[in-house]
Amino acid sequence: MLVYKAFFKIIKKNMAQIAIYFVIFLFLAVFLASIYTDPANMDFMESKIDMVFISHDKDSKLVDGLKEFIGERANFIPIANDEQKLRDALFFREVEYIVRVPKGFTQAFMEGEEIRLEKTVVPGSASSVYMDSLINKYLNTARLYVDNIEGLSQQQLADYISEDLSHQAEVLMLNPDPDKRLNEKRTYYFNYLAYSLFAILVLGISAALKVFNQPDLANRNLCSPLRLRDMDFQLILGNICFAILTCLIMILPSFVMYRGHMFTLKGLLFILNTFVFSLAVLGISFLTGNIVKSRNAISAVANVLSLGTCFISGVFVPRDFLGDTLLKFASLTPTYWYVKSNHIIGSMERLKEEDVRAILTSFIVMLVFAVTAFAVSMVLKKQKYMRQVRGF
């Protein structure tokens, strides 16, 4: 097993570079995963919008009531009713919303006529939608009373609306999964693992293969009575052992961090998913090692492959923020399927058939990646060998 041993000696010499990625992973997994909050589940906090309220309809209890209602949820900025000044205020984001009540608004409203408030907003402002909703809420309530109670005074109307809109409903968030937060953390731990595992395997395996593929060293090996088949076997065995070892080392901190939770079905599925993913990455690393010509380029390739696939597959950025086209493109990488099954494993409450099917599909796709990459590298290697020495 000389080739196998030499393979690991080469890996050992590259250990410093490999260790850097392991440290990065530990930082990501331990620190970031522990402070991580899922943006989709963040608590709601009401904020006040800066706006200008201009009324040309004087002595109106309805408009006063509207202003009072909005005033509880917005900051009125005192800006003179001058078109240029108001535009400047919007442009420089001093305010986000300007509402104008036209003259005769209350009378028209009370008589059931169709009349609108005028508004000017910062383009694309999300807050303006919120303000639209508040104004609609007030006026729709007012419309309800006007349409159904005859002879209602403005003061009565304003009082009714004020009382109605002062009611608040208490919402109790029920969490069906008591380990939800822990599962999210575990999901992100294993997602981050994809980056370092990818980088370490490409770096280690490609660097070792590059050494064995050096023309002079390859010729020296070819001159020896060691059969090419035996040499390939030892190299592939070395690759597999290195991948398993790396995988185990990177999974190990999860047992320290999540202890008994790693011995549950979910924990085991996370580990299994990681092993299957490492096989796919192993195949890609094997291919890279046989394709990349320069040793200096290996580090660059390792970074591009690991970072690139992780970014587009939702390791660093939640998938909800990624476009459909990008995700379709990402599905051509094993990282996408790894992250996908991590999320399924992390979010499932119990093992349902559809979850099993989705996880198995991801496993199969990752294994297809592994087999394809291995097959392509072996064909390329064989072709290169045949071109050089065979054919007489």
Binding site: V211, D216, S224, P225, R387, F392
Partner: protein, 310 residues
């Protein structure tokens, strides 16, 4: 017969690297393959070892056809390549152990052979060094140790002294002679004629992918018409003297440059004496005198019309 190559032809596109190359190497020889850079020496070696496919011809080693899967033949061969081919990530000892291990499965025997090879090339002190820490000369010695550790019967040295310091060069050449005395057949390729003359028992001169002359160094020198080169230190010269010397028996050419008269003679005896007699009889004062026998460069020059180092 150790090696028999017949009509080996190798083309790289339109370029013919080997043109009906023929070679026979016998047991116990140090066979020198001498030729300028690009003459096809390394291509010939690579084809002989089945490291490179060729277009035509046959190669037999130890009377068996050589092929990429002729593992029984490969066991008997050691190769010292032109470029240093070792693992940068392995120490000196680990490198020799690795390459020896490709041939020798018995661990005990391998340990002994590795130690012997390292001692043989004189790098015992550097056993635990990584190749990066070695000088060019020491690297070359490591390269040799990796190629000979399994004590092969046939060793091929492909320009092992390129870019090597004089001390390492002497060490390498002496080592090759020792290996030969120990029973190994050697093929030594080089473009340094002095090295080939010094150690080879038989020499093949290569040019443009074929062997243009073959024999012992004496046989090769006998093939050409020019004989010794006589150089006489003279401080003055006139054309009459030069013409008279050119007219002496067996003198091919005479020229005067840098205060020296350079006379080339054809084969024949007493050429030096006749030149000196002429100078003495004409009362011409002269300084130091050198007489050099023809070199392999002269052989190459006469056959190809160009210098070996061109």
């Amino acid at each position: 017969m150790v090696i028999k190559v017949e009509n080996l032809t190798k083309r790289y596109g339109d370029l013919i690297a080997l043109d009906n190359f023929n070679l026979e190497v016998n047991h116990g020889e140090i066979f020198g393959l001498l030729g300028p850079n690009g003459s096809g020496k390394t291509t010939a070696i690579n084809c002989i070892l089945s490291l490179l496919k060729y277009d035509k011809g046959t190669v037999k080693i130890y009377n068996k056809p050589m092929a990429p899967d002729a593992y029984d033949i490969k066991e008997k061969i050691g190769l010292v390549m032109q470029n240093v081919a070792v693992f940068e990530e392995l120490t000196v000892y680990e490198n020799v152990d690795y390459f020896c291990g490709l041939y020798i499965k018995n661990k005990k025997l391998r340990l002994k052979l590795v130690e012997e090879a390292i001692d043989f090339v004189g790098i015992s002190y550097y056993k635990d060094f990584y190749p990066k820490m070695l000088s060019g000369g020491l690297l070359r010695r490591l390269n040799i140790a990796c190629g000979i550790a399994h004590q092969p019967k046939l060793i091929i040295f492909d320009e092992p002294t390129v870019a090597v310091d004089p001390q390492s060069r002497i060490n390498i050449l002496e080592g090759i002679q020792k290996l030969n005395k120990a029973g190994a057949t050697i093929i030594y390729t080089s473009h340094y004629m002095e090295e080939v003359e010094q150690i080879c028992t038989r020499i093949g001169i290569m040019d443009k992918g074929r062997i243009i002359a073959i024999g012992t160094k004496e046989e090769l020198k006998d093939m050409i018409s020019s004989g010794e080169k006589i150089t006489v230190e003279l401080f003055s010269m006139d054309n009459k003297i030069l013409e008279d010397i050119k007219g002496l028996p067996h003198i091919v050419s005479a020229e005067y440059r840098d205060n020296s008269l350079i006379v080339r003679s054809s084969k024949g005896k007493n050429n030096l004496v006749s030149v000196l007699d002429y100078l003495k009889s004409n009362d011409i004062d002269f300084g130091r005198i050198y007489s050099e026998p023809p070199t392999l460069n002269d052989v190459f020059l006469e056959i190809t019309g160009k210098e070996l180092r061109d």
